[in-house]
């Protein structure tokens, strides 16, 4: 009998305590934040830290709950499907160069944050011309960037030395000569891929494309519908040659992870990627100790570097205005100069805001970043990535057609025609 009374008493106590606890948090607004910047993603430490700091600063008022969605392609697919099925989007979405802002805008799902931005002079000052290009539409501010997409390539200095190469090439002719030297020395020159948007390959193709006036103009075209131009066909012919002679066997069918793994294990000499990869070079779970000392960073030949703020975080329309306010606070917090400094420190993410100083401490921590930034700042030619400007869905076609191009089953002309057919049938504008 006593035991029953004790059990009943405990239950009542638990219920009352639970009710009190829940009422204490009743006013706290929870922001569900799906993100791919988790786990092995190079930005994960920075995002985790910022989430903690936000939750501390807004304790009792707002709280971010992270929903892990490993893989940026998976994340983009998830948000795209949610837009397609008219589901309410998460309060904060990170555009991440996946054209999600335009998609969400078409679905009338994005909140205009102009008022909040203009009310904060520091925030408003970030909206330079390049920012506005990626984050604003029709004069309205919709998104806010956290990092810049400044991309060159990395090379293995030890392998370059073995092949008798002094340093990064200044022209594309020199670059291809270096590839031959590496090959002659028995070293596979390039890390390439075909899956998940063929990230490394598209960077190389885009950079080569930028070496001609026509190509540069094409690279800067938003959502092009015609890929049948000489520059693009030449670039794809070069890509075909590189697939067939200068890369690993698993490049065809492989994704970025395969390419990175080949670079980390010293199987290849060159990989195209951004500075966010730098912290990986010292990560002993990915590569051998001391690997970072072997790596050099470079801008592309003919004075080219990818340079554009990455489409930032945006707030989506919600039924609850309080949740929208919370989401605006989150975007403001995550894209502030302080947050960008944290992201730079913890994950080597190049800040989107020019107000964030790259200190000597940072350069000491990431010497490779300093090496890259000094080269990048000297570059005369800049543009955003090739696949970043493709119409929605074309990346899948690009992925599936690249193996045919690589094997020679299709010609560069065929390849460009397939892209044109799809883009022309599915124009984004």
């Amino acid at each position: 009998m006593k035991l029953r009374k004790l059990a009943a008493g405990s239950l009542v106590f638990c219920m009352v305590a639970g009710a009190m606890a829940s009422s204490a948090f009743a006013d706290e607004i929870v922001i569900n934040y799906p993100t791919f910047q988790v786990g092995a993603n190079t930005s994960a430490p920075a995002i985790a830290e910022l989430v903690n700091r936000f939750n501390e600063e807004y304790a009792g008022q707002y709280r971010i709950e992270v929903e892990e969605v490993p893989g940026d392609e998976n994340y983009a697919d998830k948000i795209t499907v949610q837009i397609a099925s008219s589901e309410t989007l998460p309060p904060v979405v990170y555009g991440a160069g996946q054209k999600l802002l335009d998609l969400a805008l078409q679905a009338d799902a994005v909140k205009d944050i102009s008022e909040a931005v203009d009310a904060d002079p520091d925030w408003a000052a970030m909206y330079t011309e390049s920012w506005e290009e990626v984050n604003c539409r029709d004069g309205k501010k919709y998104a806010s960037s956290m990092e810049s997409e400044m991309i060159g390539y990395f090379y293995n200095k030890e392998l370059f030395e073995q092949a008798g190469i002094d340093g990064p090439a200044a022209t594309w002719d020199e670059f291809f000569e270096d590839l031959d030297k590496l090959k002659e020395a028995g070293i596979t020159p390039l890390a390439m891929d075909t899956a998940d948007g063929a990230w490394c390959t598209q960077l190389l193709v885009g950079a080569y494309l930028a070496s001609t006036e026509e190509g540069m103009e094409f690279l800067k075209t938003k959502y092009p519908t015609d890929y049948n131009n000489e520059a693009m066909i030449n670039a794809m012919a070069k890509a075909q040659e590189l697939y067939q002679n200068y890369t690993t066997l698993d490049a065809v069918g492989g994704a970025y992870e395969n390419a990175a793994n080949n670079f980390f294990s010293g199987n290849v000499a060159i990989i195209c990627n951004g500075p966010w990869m730098i912290s990986d070079f010292s990560d002993e779970s990915k590569t051998e100790a001391g690997f970072a000392d072997k790596v050099g960073a470079a801008a592309y030949p003919d004075s080219f570097v990818y340079d554009a703020p990455i489409e930032g975080m945006f707030v989506t329309k919600q039924d609850d205005p309080a949740l929208e306010e919370a989401a605006v606070a989150m975007v403001q917090f995550f894209t502030s100069n302080e947050a960008q400094a944290v992201a730079l420190d913890l994950s080597g993410m190049v800040p989107a805001s020019s107000a964030v100083e790259i200190t000597d401490e940072i350069l000491e921590k990431y010497p490779l970043l300093g090496e890259f930034l000094s080269q990048a700042s000297a570059c005369e030619n800049r543009a955003s990535t090739l696949t970043g400007n493709m119409v929605p869905g074309l990346e899948d076609i690009w992925d599936n057609e690249l193996p045919n191009l690589a094997s020679g089953a299709s010609t560069p002309e065929d390849f460009c025609q397939v892209l044109t057919d799809f883009a022309a049938a599915n124009p984004a504008q």
Binding site: P403, N404, A409, N426
Partner: protein, 289 residues
């Protein structure tokens, strides 16, 4: 049935009907209705298109017929060869040879592992650089036969097919359960009449297990009409459209925000499913007659 029971019957059926209408009927009508519209998100378009999407799909879409053929070929392979393989194993196991329980369990394992894991296993097995398949070929001096199995035109389709073809665990389990439930007296009678083991299998066990085989054939067909993740995670539907099936095509079309066209593909999948079910039932019904 008494008249006063009718309201009760209606009352108890209502929740099921309501759930069916909400979850299946309404979306189905929306898919069919949507297939007659030009509905895109980028650029935002919503206009009545009549049978325009169907005309485009059947007459102008360069990829559709290859994708349609892929889907049908996989349905046939799965319904005929895959089910035959599972049934054959069930017919061996029901005689309870030594170790039959072990084989039954082991053969089921690939069917209970997640498709993502299986896809990763095959992705690595087929890897042209370090994959088991190419390594074996190299070890036995058949380097000329090495391929990038999932990403070459000539090998991609069979390579993707092999990711599920051999794993007929469900068929084996279901047909075996049916065989084991047969009255042993019937088998004994056949033996006394002098029937050979093969004759017993062909003339006694097979006809009695036919209903279950039909069920497994229907399951196999529907599985193929839903197949998505295994292709998506291995070949991604490429190279080109060599390994794309209708569900994957629907998905990629939806990603390009062409929802009206995606609905049209959805309707084709539904029709293919209905025709397949009809044909399967017809084949088994004819055999019964």
């Amino acid at each position: 049935m008494r008249k006063k029971e009718i309201p009760w019957i209606i009352l108890f059926l209502l929740p099921t009907c309501a759930v069916f209408l909400l979850i299946f009927a309404v979306p189905l009508c929306m898919v069919i209705g949507g297939s007659f519209f030009n509905y895109r998100l980028m650029p935002k378009t919503f206009s009545f298109n009549g049978i325009g999407n169907y005309i485009q799909l059947f007459t102008q879409d360069k990829n559709f017929w290859l994708i349609f053929r892929n889907t049908l070929v996989w349905i046939v392979i799965h319904c005929v060869f895959h089910v035959a393989l599972g049934t054959l194993l069930a017919f061996v196991l029901y005689k309870k040879p030594r170790g039959w329980k072990f084989v039954r369990v082991v053969y089921m394992i690939p069917n209970i592992i997640s498709q993502s894991a299986i896809a990763m296993i095959f992705l690595n097995m087929y890897n042209p650089q370090y994959g088991v398949l190419n390594s074996i070929l190299k070890a036995v001096g058949l380097e000329k036969l090495q391929h990038n199995w999932l990403f070459e035109m000539g090998t991609a389709f069979p390579a993707v097919t092999m990711t599920w073809f051999l794993f007929a665990g469900y068929t084996t389990t279901l047909v075996l359960a049916q065989c084991l439930s047969l009255d042993e007296g019937i088998i004994e009678a056949a033996k006394i009449d002098g029937a050979s083991s093969l004759q017993i299998d062909r003339l006694v066990v097979f006809p009695l297990a036919k209903d279950m085989i039909r069920t497994t054939v229907i399951m196999a067909a529907t599985y193929m009409l839903q197949l998505f993740s295994m292709i998506y995670l291995t070949s991604g539907g490429g190279p080109g459209s060599t390994t794309t099936n209708l569900p994957l095509y629907l998905y990629t079309t939806m990603k390009s925000t062409n929802y009206g066209y995606a609905n049209t593909i959805g309707v084709v999948i539904i029709v293919v499913g209905m025709v397949t079910m009809f044909l399967i039932n017809r084949v088994f019904h004819t055999r019964e007659e």
